[in-house]
């Protein structure tokens, strides 16, 4: 469309009354285009709110336009209007001129809007995206604070500073969501008040008009600080989605600097506490293990001043027996299974026809955990965490000894081999296989037998004997050797 002969060539200054009023803009633009006013001759400006008050807001600039004898038919299409709906809310003062330019060009090129590579279309689309993003961010970042009103009911009041003119566009959203509660959203340009029945618009407010605090914010901040994982700091990602300009009105954002500062330190502490504290290379000889456990201070038992008790028996054995931990006698002797429980085990091994000299004996935990009571040291079961930690030594020993079968005595030994707490009642007496192919046989610890008396003891000792006898049969079967 070109300027028609006779069309005025003077500049038109158009005042737009409301910054986001598409209808009013359309009327003005339609009149301009109908009069054949080329975009270069229009200067759009926004009435400041003061001016709007002065003139009562009813100025009709379109009336001042020359009315051509035969006005041109001005047509817009859906694609244009859909985009204009967003673009009009942009804070850039050039938006009115851009939209008019698009409307003007659209008269000559009906398919203009389908050309995203066109620079006007491209620019409008970018502005539309920014506005839609701001609409979305307002929905996300408005934070209400509750205040009690004179009638005893609550009103939820928020202070928010949108980047563009998006408050009206979001009224519906907040109404849909919070119709059952009274709320107000205060912004510098426009405020919305909902009382449960009607929505009232009011002029812009001051941040001091909003409540200063809300007790629930403390809970929310604690939630925010706790849900954040210090092991994965991605500040760039956060800032991209929650730009800094919104931070001052977000209660949780007040914590960000301290959370970031603390994160490195927290992760380092967590890794130091949680990660594998062992050297990269596992020991290559049994002597290295013996020296290693003697010096091991990786858990409180290692630090309790007792001496470590290494495994005993051939360096390559077909059977490895794993107990729980050295007891008082073992710690004194520096050898495994020499105390009362060890003697009981010896007797049953002999009865089952198993030769202790050909068996390697060791413990799940290498130091003696005890509680001093007077002069005596009372055995204390190691914790799951301590067993899991000491497992590193046991696995090193298994790699070197390469047993065909492992006999685990008691739940602690079971845990050290399986990596989980075994269910002794169910799993006792079933042949299991460890990851390296060795067979695993679970039974009770002989110290358990020592605590029993009378018939119960006889019965349990018979079961224990039976477990050992079946173990011997399995050792003799070729199938047991993988």
């Amino acid at each position: 469309m070109t300027a028609r002969p006779g069309a005025t060539s003077r500049q038109h200054c158009i005042l737009v009354e409301r910054p986001d009023d598409l209808e009013a803009w359309r009327e003005q633009a339609r009149a301009l285009a109908a009069a054949g006013v080329v975009p270069e001759h229009v200067i759009w400006s926004l009435q400041s709110s003061g001016a709007a008050d002065l003139f009562g807001g009813a100025a009709a600039p379109a009336a001042c336009l020359p009315s051509p004898a035969a006005p041109l038919a001005v047509r817009a299409n859906e694609a244009f209007l859909g985009l204009a709906e967003s673009v009009i809310r942009h804070r850039d003062p050039a938006r009115f001129a851009l939209l008019y330019r698009l409307l003007w060009r659209l008269q000559g090129d009906r398919r203009l809007m389908e050309k995203p590579a066109d620079s006007d279309v491209h620019c409008a689309m970018a502005m539309g995206r920014q506005v839609r993003r701001d609409i979305h961010k307002m929905r996300a970042f408005v934070r209400f604070r509750a205040v009690t009103e004179p009638d005893g009911g609550d009103r939820y009041i928020a202070w928010f500073e949108p980047e563009h003119h998006v408050v009206r566009a979001n009224a519906r959203f907040f109404l849909d969501r919070f119709a059952s509660q009274r709320w107000s959203i205060l912004t510098p340009d426009l405020c919305l008040h909902w009382d449960g029945e009607s929505l009232v618009e009011a002029p812009g407010a001051d941040p001091r008009d909003a409540p200063r605090e809300d007790a629930t914010e403390d809970l929310w901040q604690r939630y925010y600080a706790s849900i954040f994982n210090p092991a994965r700091l991605k500040v760039g990602m956060m800032v991209k989605e929650m730009p800094r300009r919104y931070w001052k009105n977000l209660p949780e954002a007040q914590l960000i600097p301290q959370l970031i500062a603390g994160a490195q330190a927290r992760e380092a502490a967590m890794v130091a506490q949680g990660a594998d504290p062992f050297p990269a290379a596992p020991p290559e000889t049994l002597e290295e293990i013996a020296q290693g456990i003697a010096a091991c201070r990786r858990c409180p038992i290692g630090c309790n001043g007792t001496r470590a008790v290494p495994g005993e028996g051939p360096a390559r054995a077909r059977l490895l027996i794993v107990g729980e931990q050295p007891g008082d006698s073992e710690e004194c002797a520096g050898r495994p299974f020499v105390g009362p429980a060890g003697q009981l085990l010896d007797r049953h091994l002999r009865q089952a026809g198993l030769d202790r000299a050909s068996i390697r004996l060791t413990n799940a935990v290498k130091h003696f955990r005890f509680e001093p009571r007077g002069k005596r040291r009372i055995h204390q079961t190691p914790t799951a965490g301590q067993i899991d930690l000491c497992r590193w030594w046991l696995e090193a020993e298994r790699r070197l000894v390469k047993p065909d079968m492992v006999l685990a005595l008691g739940a602690s030994a079971g845990r050290a081999l399986l990596g989980r707490a075994p269910r002794l009642a169910d799993e006792r007496g079933t042949a299991m296989r460890l990851a390296d192919g060795a067979g695993l046989w679970l039974t009770v610890h002989p110290s358990y037998l020592l605590r029993l008396e009378g018939a119960a003891r006889d019965r349990e000792e018979a079961r224990f004997q039976d477990d050992l006898a079946r173990l011997r049969i399995m050792l003799e079967e070729p199938a047991a050797t993988p």
């Binding site: 929905r139 959203f173 929310w220 994982n229 960000i256 992760e267 949680g274 965490g385």
Partner: protein, 413 residues
């Protein structure tokens, strides 16, 4: 021990919930409370109300009902043998917390999970009670995501779907062997059959609603699952295959990948170091390729190296393109949508814009510059009205030229 305050318990139970990656509030049916009776609304699109410094979105109040647990899964901070502080909420407390957060526009809704106390079914009942109370007693119309316990009574699992927008069951680890080793109390068969049952119930409910308008909704936002990456020995190729199997068999909405991260009081069975976070990102990209870019899982697997791992320095689409140079260059003005989607550097939005723009004139590089983020990455793979790569796709150093320059090592890496 003195009873912990609500705030202290919130800290403990939010901290315990943070290893669940999902916080999505999208894809459910549209609801509002314009009638003034209920509270809340949902749109098709979720809203992220805040972002934490770990770059993750906070959309839901994501907490555990309790972190007491009778299970002993090694990768889990709440396992029985862990020394973490324990706490529990009553269902009523969770309901009140959710409502007071929601009223202040902090959240879109609730993501509730739990450690297992007493029995799986008992725990599941407690979770359902929270959702029921929110929906029935308070007419809450926001989003509810319930983490379902696969070991619970199947009927309970189904009840969860009636109140929740989304239900999820974590497969936890990509391989059965990994699950057996690290989560001894869990059973992959049981997990998969629970996922299967929920999948069936979702399909049935959808079907019923086609015929009866008032048929009850069942988890309208579908179901999702999560896998922990880097805790067992699974390769990226295995993980992609497993995820694809889950999408195919159970119609899952999402598979989340969570890079195993050091947890307090870690079990000694776990690997020494966390996997690079970039690995998780590459897996999500590969997931995208299958779900939105028309790649098959097998094709994405082709982008992995000899050990089945995706490259960390370049994205999987570029990796695939470098291995399939014979498919390039692609003529921007002639190629089909499917072909355009395979060009590294072209996303779905750019492809849509290209398809629209080229109806009007033949596109030049300059046009592409306006439609895409960067043409530098595209150039070797495309032909435009004014550009044709000079057999550039054959050159040996193409990968080096497209990969980002090496960065200085992280000080704390």
């Amino acid at each position: 021990m003195a009873r912990l305050s609500l705030a202290e318990r919130l800290e403990i139970l939010a901290d315990a919930a943070k290893y669940d990656a999902s916080c999505a509030s999208s894809g459910t049916s549209k609801r509002n409370s314009r009638d003034g009776k209920g509270l809340g609304s949902t749109e098709g699109m979720g809203i992220c109300h805040a972002y934490a410094p770990d770059g993750r979105c906070i959309s839901l109040l994501k907490i555990l009902l309790t972190n007491h647990c009778i299970f002993d899964c090694h990768y889990c901070v709440n396992r029985k043998s862990s020394n973490v502080r324990r706490a529990r909420f009553t269902p009523r407390e969770v309901v009140d917390l959710t409502l007071s957060f929601y009223r202040r526009n902090y959240i879109e809704g609730l993501f509730l999970s739990s450690g297992i106390v007493r029995s799986s079914s008992h725990t599941m009942e407690q979770l359902i009670e929270v959702a029921r109370s929110l929906r029935e007693d308070h007419a809450f119309r926001g989003y509810i995501h319930l983490k379902t316990i696969p070991e619970a009574d199947p009927q309970l699992v189904e009840r969860a779907g009636l109140w929740a927008d989304r239900v999820s069951i974590n497969v936890e680890l990509p391989t059965d062997a990994g699950l057996a080793r690290l989560a001894p109390d869990k059973d992959s068969g049981q997990i998969e059959s629970a996922i299967g049952r929920i999948g069936d119930a979702i399909v049935e409910a959808k079907d019923a609603r086609k015929r009866f308008r008032h048929a009850p909704r069942f988890a309208p936002a579908g179901q999702s699952t999560q896998m922990i990456v880097g805790a067992d020995g699974a390769s990226d190729s295995q993980i992609i295959g497993r995820a694809n199997g889950l999408y195919d068999r159970f119609g899952l909405r999402r598979v989340y990948y969570s890079a195993f991260s050091p947890i307090p009081d870690a079990s000694a069975v776990l690997p020494l170091r966390r996997p690079p976070l970039m690995r998780e990102h590459r897996l999500y990209q590969s997931d995208w390729l299958v779900r939105f870019y028309g790649f098959s899982a097998t094709e994405v697997q082709q982008a992995t190296d000899a050990e089945g791992m995706l490259a960390l320095d370049i994205d999987p689409k570029l990796a695939w393109a470098l291995k399939h140079r014979e498919s390039f260059p692609i003529d921007i003005n002639l190629a089909t949508r499917e072909q355009l989607l395979r060009v590294p550097g072209l996303g779905t939005r750019a492809v849509a814009a290209i398809l629209q723009a080229r109806r009007h004139h033949r596109l030049r590089l300059e046009d592409l510059g306006r439609l895409t983020r960067s043409i530098a990455r595209l150039r070797p793979f495309i032909v435009t009205a004014d550009w044709r790569p000079a057999s550039i796709t054959d050159s040996v150093d193409l990968r080096a030229r497209l990969a980002p320059p090496p960065r200085q090592m992280e000080l704390f890496g």
